[in-house]
């Protein structure tokens, strides 16, 4: 499942870049209950309790930064299991600064497996897009509010 989107934030690219390289900071933008910590500079892990509609459970997620190009690009891989299902996603974040703002294009492939994947793409896609968009919206608020 391919997902992508854009957002703009009134903050410098270096600040936005640093924010997304701090796994605790950016996972804190998840609306669902969560707990993450950094394992080392390139890896983090934790749990998030999420789901579709009333089908909810706790996913254990491992994250790896695959690409870190200062102030312009980040690629992060997320792998997780929960609810008897699997999540494997690779997200690219492309940053560009102009006139005191940073535009960020995000996109990538999300592969779901297990019973969650059988729910039907329309249902899962809608939920996934909503949650990811919520994460970036919360990130924008944090970056602009600080």
């Amino acid at each position: 499942m391919h997902i992508e989107g854009d957002f703009r934030v009134r903050a410098t690219a270096s600040r936005v870049y640093a924010f997304f390289l701090d796994p605790v900071a950016f996972t804190d933008c998840l609306d669902d209950p969560h707990e993450f910590h950094a394992v080392d500079a390139d890896h983090f892990e934790g749990t998030v309790t999420t789901g579709v509609a009333f089908i909810r459970g706790t996913f254990r997620v491992r994250g790896s930064y695959l690409v870190k190009t200062p102030t312009s690009a980040i690629r992060v891989r997320l792998q997780g299991t929960g609810l008897g299902s699997g999540l494997d996603a690779e997200l690219d974040l492309a940053l560009a600064e102009a006139a005191g703002e940073t535009s960020l294009h995000w996109g990538g492939e999300v592969r779901l497996s297990g019973p969650i994947a059988a729910l039907g793409e329309r249902m899962v896609r809608g939920t996934t897009e909503k949650k990811v968009a919520g994460l970036f919206e919360n990130a924008r608020r944090k970056l602009e509010g600080a």
Partner: protein, 781 residues
């Protein structure tokens, strides 16, 4: 002339099923009803990935869950050399993986806890890290060079499992070349699941003497005991398998599933009884599947409509291991019954099997080893050939059937059919449905642009496996057995090597014995499924119980009669040569009022045994059938198709079956009605599809569509009777006929409705969307 006396509950009587007295009161005893003191519960961690490396498995958090006592992993089993086990087709399958998972839903670890909830919480707390690997879903792609090799553990260099062929390749090639008309069709029969009401499960217990008892949902308890003994190294006398009441098997409860083995290991390691009962999603995603055959078939005929030759090439998707329950010599089962009801001069069939990242496939879902695939193929092609030649499909079949006088008939692919009257069955079905009137109605509707279709399926089944010289599973010959004892008061207990899963054995076997012994079936108790008490047998599947154990019951009864005749002669003070078994009692020849009943003889056998003769009255028979039996039938289906929506409505369905001598007409009718519904289901609704990542898209009954009473058509049934000449009382078996014969009739009817559009095939299940697409793609063309 005096009418022969009948015995209550003898052969041919529609007595109520004896077992229903407990079932309808909710008094059945299923595995999940077994409740032992101190019993623990097993739940399973399953893989979310279709193919992945396990990079880490941590059980600490699960062990911290209150109530969780143990977490069993592949590494634990490997230490005991139990991580792998043999399949019934001599392949190997994982009990639990040590480093790689091969299909979504595969068992990854077992959690043992004091209650089911704690076990489920423990499952959620087991941490498994996976590294996804490339997934092979399509069996054709699996065989392409460069495809990921799934079974490197076996030293394989590709995903090809086996090639099997039968028939005369050159003669078939020549005959097809010389045929005036040749048709070719590609058919896909998708994966489906037996979906029995009761899922699989077991309770394993080790007693103080070290004896292992397993109550389990198995259709073949004796064979399972032997497999357990061979795999575990436990002495076979220290293993007792009990199959209690079973809520449907349909072939799905023949294989050995990892949950059974893990439960046994858990019982051995904890010293407490352990229960495992899988949930519906586990059942639908991990237990063995049926079908999944990709078939390419060619058929030749003369210009005037005589069939000449048949050639079939098939690719079988077996998932990650070949766990089919076929007889050893026949890796594609009895697929070579594919010449069906027709006397082809020559035929050739080849099947290749491939590994994919799916659960094990290849079990016989109510179809006696791939017979549904065969019957579907031949009946679809015969119908297409009739259309191609513009001959009425009924007339075409009547012209081509093996004639009754040709039996016993040797088929082009090597089977010797025992008996048949195919024309008789089809003519009866035509009369019941009003075939000529339906054709007239169809012609009128076509003029008005309405879509109505009539489809026929005149199938030949092959059941009763089987003769020991040809049939074995893991080397165990496929005989079956009965042990019959008459008590002093003339009441009977009989134990048999098969195991009912709802078929009504307690009634059917009692009726056979009632007929043979002259004792009311009310006084005959039937026991099956306990390996400590029943004689060894290969179990119930493939419609084999009546042809094998039913025959064994009759033969054991006749052995008893032979002994009893001598006792009766003594009682009647005549020579044994002057005694005859007539009207269900021993009579002095020519003096019918000088007679003794079996009950009278039984009392004497225990109270005044003859000198030189053992006391008692009992016998055992291990019946090795001289041949298989070949039930048959003709089904006619009439459908209406909505041109605008593609919706199919089965308006009429007439099923005429011939299963030889019928023991209990009500039970047979029930078997046929249930079987027809299970034939309607894959034709119209059932399928287990997988996406490109190997995700099972039908892991619950929300997506795996079973027909309810609302969707199920009204079945109209009829019968003809053509006894099997080699069976002791002429029976053939019927459990699977309707499932085998129904799909082709339904699909043929839909395609007949769509004939104006030139559509020759739509792969099952015939969803409204597929039918609509077929209509409208031809419209556009």
């Amino acid at each position: 002339m005096a009418q022969p006396e009948t015995v209550h509950g003898g052969i041919g009587q529609s007595i109520p099923r004896k077992e229903d007295a407990r079932f309808i009161r909710g008094k059945g005893n299923y595995v999940d009803d077994v409740d032992l003191p101190g019993m623990l519960f097993l739940d399973l961690v399953r893989s979310p990935y279709a193919h992945a490396k396990i990079t880490a498995l941590r059980k600490e958090k699960a062990l911290a869950v209150p109530g969780v006592l143990a977490v069993i992993t592949g590494a634990d089993l490997a230490a005991a050399k139990l991580a792998w086990m043999p399949t019934l087709m001599s392949d190997t399958q994982m009990v639990l993986p040590t480093d790689e998972v091969m299909f979504q839903g595969q068992e990854v670890a077992g959690v043992v806890a004091t209650d089911r909830y704690a076990a489920a919480d423990g499952v959620a707390a087991v941490e498994v890290d996976y590294d996804p690997l490339p997934v092979v879903v399509d069996p054709f792609k699996a065989l392409e060079p460069g495809a990921p090799v799934l079974r490197g553990d076996k030293g394989k260099k590709d995903n090809h499992i086996w090639h099997w062929e039968v028939g005369d390749k050159a003669a078939t090639e020549k005959a097809l070349k010389e045929s005036a008309v040749v048709i070719k069709e590609r058919l896909y029969i998708p994966r489906i699941h037996v979906s029995s009401i009761e899922t699989c499960g077991c309770v394993a217990q080790v007693d103080a003497m070290g004896k292992l008892t397993v109550w389990m949902t198995t259709q073949a308890p004796h064979a399972i005991r032997t497999v357990f003994a061979l795999v575990s190294g436990l002495p076979e006398n220290q293993i007792r398998i009990i199959s209690p009441d079973i809520g449907g098997g349909f072939g799905g409860k023949v294989p050995v599933y990892p949950g059974y083995v893990i439960a046994v290991v858990a019982a051995l390691t904890t010293g407490q009884p352990v229960k495992w009962v899988e949930d519906r999603t586990g059942n639908l995603t991990a237990d063995s599947f049926a079908r999944d055959y990709h078939i390419e078939a060619e058929m030749g005929a003369t210009k005037d409509g005589k069939l000449t030759a048949l050639r079939v090439k098939t690719l079988a998707d077996h998932g990650y291991t070949d766990a089919a329950a076929n007889p050893s010599k026949f890796p594609a089962g009895l697929f070579h019954i594919i010449t069906g009801s027709y006397p082809f001069a020559t035929a050739f069939v080849e099947v290749d099997a491939a590994y994919t990242n799916k659960p094990p496939g290849g079990i016989a879902y109510r179809c006696s080893f791939r017979v549904t695939e065969a019957a579907y193929t031949i009946e679809r092609l015969v119908e297409n050939m009739a259309h191609k030649l513009k001959i009425d499909p009924a007339e075409f079949r009547l012209k081509n059937f093996i004639p009754p006088e040709a039996f016993p008939f040797q088929s082009a692919l090597g089977w010797t059919y025992d008996s048949g009257n195919y024309g008789g069955a089809l003519k009866k079905a035509m009369a019941m449905i009003g075939y000529d009137e339906l054709r007239k109605e169809q012609a009128e509707k076509r003029k008005r642009g309405e879509l109505m279709g009539i489809g026929i399926s005149s199938f030949t089944e092959i059941v009763g496996a089987g003769p020991a010289k040809q049939f074995d599973i893991l080397g165990l010959k496929m005989f079956d057995s009965a042990e019959v004892r008459i008590h002093p008061t003339g009441k009977v207990i009989a134990r048999l090597g098969t195991k009912s899963q709802g078929q009504g054995h307690e009634t059917t076997y009692a009726q056979i014995l009632a007929e043979e012994l002259g004792i009311s079936s009310d006084f005959i108790s039937i026991e099956e499924g306990d390996t400590d008490t029943a004689p060894y047998g290969l179990g119930t599947y493939a419609s084999r119980s009546t042809p094998t154990s039913g025959a064994a019951a009759a033969m054991a009864a006749r052995k008893i009669r032979d002994k009893a005749a001598k006792i009766a002669a003594q009682m009647l003070e005549v020579s044994p040569d002057d005694i005859e078994w007539k009207d269900h009692k021993f009579q002095v020849k020519g003096v019918p009022d000088k007679s003794k009943t079996m009950a009278e003889v039984a009392f004497a056998a225990y109270t005044t045994p003859l000198e030189g003769m053992e006391a008692g009255l009992e016998a055992v028979d291990y019946y090795n059938p001289p041949n298989l039996t070949f039930p048959f039938g003709s089904y006619i289906c009439a459908v209406d198709v909505d041109k605008e929506t593609g919706q199919v409505k089965v308006r009429r369905f007439v099923a005429v079956d011939d299963c030889g001598v019928i023991i209990n007409p009500t039970i047979v009718d029930g078997q046929i009605q249930g079987g027809l519904t299970m034939g309607f289901a894959p034709a119209m609704m059932e399928e287990i599809p997988y996406d490109a990542d190997g995700n099972n898209r039908a892991g619950s009954f929300l997506e795996y569509l079973l027909p309810t009473a609302v969707e199920t058509p009204k079945w109209e049934t009829g019968k003809t009777t053509t006894p099997s000449p080699h069976h002791p009382f002429g029976a053939k078996g019927v459990g699977e006929s309707a499932t085998v014969g129904a799909p082709a009739a339904i699909v043929n009817a839909v395609l007949d409705a769509l004939e104006p559009y030139g559509v020759t095939n739509i792969d099952i299940p015939l969803s409204a969307h597929k039918v609509w697409k077929a209509i409208h793609s031809k419209d556009a063309a």
